[in-house]
């Protein structure tokens, strides 16, 4: 047991010197570079993760933006289509109404023209008939009557009695 538990001077001296030398060597050439390399790498990994996170959220925002734009475009398209349809309907309806009105107006004009024409025709017919009647009567009376006055009186009486109107 003595051999185990008694410190030996020489061993203590060697251990002290060797340990100190190695510790300073390692601190300068191993622990320093290794620890700083580890730290750098951890920082760069943390940065990269943060970056990726940010990129992902940016991407998500972008996607949402796109979606919104798309939605807006869709809505706009819908409204445009609806407006177009409405306008077309309106145009057609307008055109129809206008055409109807025009047709009605034309018909009215035609009717009026027809009425006027008829009136004129009747008047003309009346005049013609009168003239014809006069001619017929003249012929008739000339041949039958010798006296103008008496004949004229007779013709007038005849015409007045005729149901021409």
């Amino acid at each position: 047991m003595d051999a185990l538990l008694t410190p030996a001077l020489g061993t203590v001296v060697w251990a002290t010197v060797a340990f100190l030398v190695v510790m300073f060597l390692l601190r300068k050439f191993a622990w320093g570079p290794i620890l700083s390399a580890l730290k750098d790498r951890e920082e760069s990994i943390a940065n990269a993760l943060n970056e990726a996170d940010r990129a992902r959220s940016e991407m998500a925002a972008l996607n949402a933006d796109n979606e919104r734009l798309l939605q807006e475009a869709r809505l706009e398209r819908d409204t445009m289509m609806r407006e177009g349809r409405d306008m077309a309907d309106r145009l057609v309806a307008d055109a129809k109404a206008k055409a109807k009105a025009e047709a009605a107006r034309e018909a009215e004009i035609a009717r009026q023209t027809i009425a006027t024409e008829r009136k004129a025709a009747v008047a003309e017919l009346k005049a013609e008939v009168a003239k014809l009647s006069v001619a017929i009567a003249e012929q008739l009376v000339r041949s039958e009557l010798s006296q103008d006055d008496k004949q004229k009186e007779l013709v007038t009486k005849l015409i007045d009695e005729s149901p021409l109107n």
């Binding site: 185990l4 030996a8 061993t11 340990f19 190695v22 622990w31 320093g32 570079p33 580890l38």
Partner: protein, 391 residues
Amino acid sequence: MSTRFNLFFLATGLLIGQVMWGQHGGQDSHEAPASHNHEEGHDHLEGDGKSGFDPSPFIIHHVADAHDIHLWGEGESAVHIPLPIILYSQEFGLDVFMSSAFHGHGDVKYTEDGKYALSHGHISLAGDGAHDDHADHGHADHGHDASHGHDGGSGVYDFSITKSVFGMLLILTLLVVLFGRAAASYRKNPGQGPKGLANVLEPLVIFVRDDIAVPSLGEKKAAKFLPFLLTVFFFILFANLLGLIPFIGGFNITGTVSITMVMAFFVFLLTTLNGNKHYWGHLFWPPGVPVFVMPIIIPIEIIGMFLKPIVLMIRLTANITAGHIIILSFVSLILIFGESSAVAGYGVGVFSTAFMIFMYCIELLVAFLQAFIFTLLAAIYFGEATHEAHH
């Protein structure tokens, strides 16, 4: 936060087990010399010259520090790797030679020039004391009592590269090479993932940083103490693991009290040098304590200041040594039974081997755990010393 506490409780629980185990191991080896003596007395009584296998010196020999690396074999056929012996004495000045220069049989060996004697891992001048040791080496402890306690008391200052020092230098060189190369690979591919060696070592470095240093010290102060904590952690871990490799001489670096003492001393030094006003205030005038208790509390606090690193030292030494002792005890068991009959030896061998495999698994855990505990406690002490008052 919760994981940290879980980890802490786990560590504490295992620690208690470890300490009890350590005591058990200690008892084992403590009892051993007694039985050794008894056995010897018995031999004398019987007058029987047959020397049975004695596990105690066998175990101590394998666990204790030595001046050479004993690979295998006993006595003359033993295969050793010699290590440099560096001695200084007033009589002979500085002497450097290899441990293979020591020759002789039995417990005491001498150099050819007759200057130095090596007995139970202790070198003394051949002129004084050593011969006495040789004379009555039956009382194994006597020689130690005479020569230990004041190193160089027998006139020699021993600065030899012992087995543990050699192992320590080996581990420290390994650390420099491994981490130097890892650092180079970081420099070569900056900002890249770790590759090869760096990939293996990085999780451990991150473990020390994120689970030991930062929770105890905080991000900012951790950077200051990390070089020390990392060095200590990897040194203890690799030294523990080296001690588990069989057939290379049974290194017991972290079970060598001189080496753990140095590391515990560094912990003490760093704690004391970095202690802030708050730390010393707590030490010499604990707040919230009634004045009449102060005479009790203050000495306890001051003793505690020294006790913490001492416990750190003993825990590591005892744990690693105890593990080695237990495994060696199982080996001894085979040898003891094998002596009475070959059949018994083989029979016990099966169970002993099974237990040894089990122990090896636990030792692997302990190798990591002790490195973790030492580093964690050091970090906690540093944290206490640099803690800013906020209550």
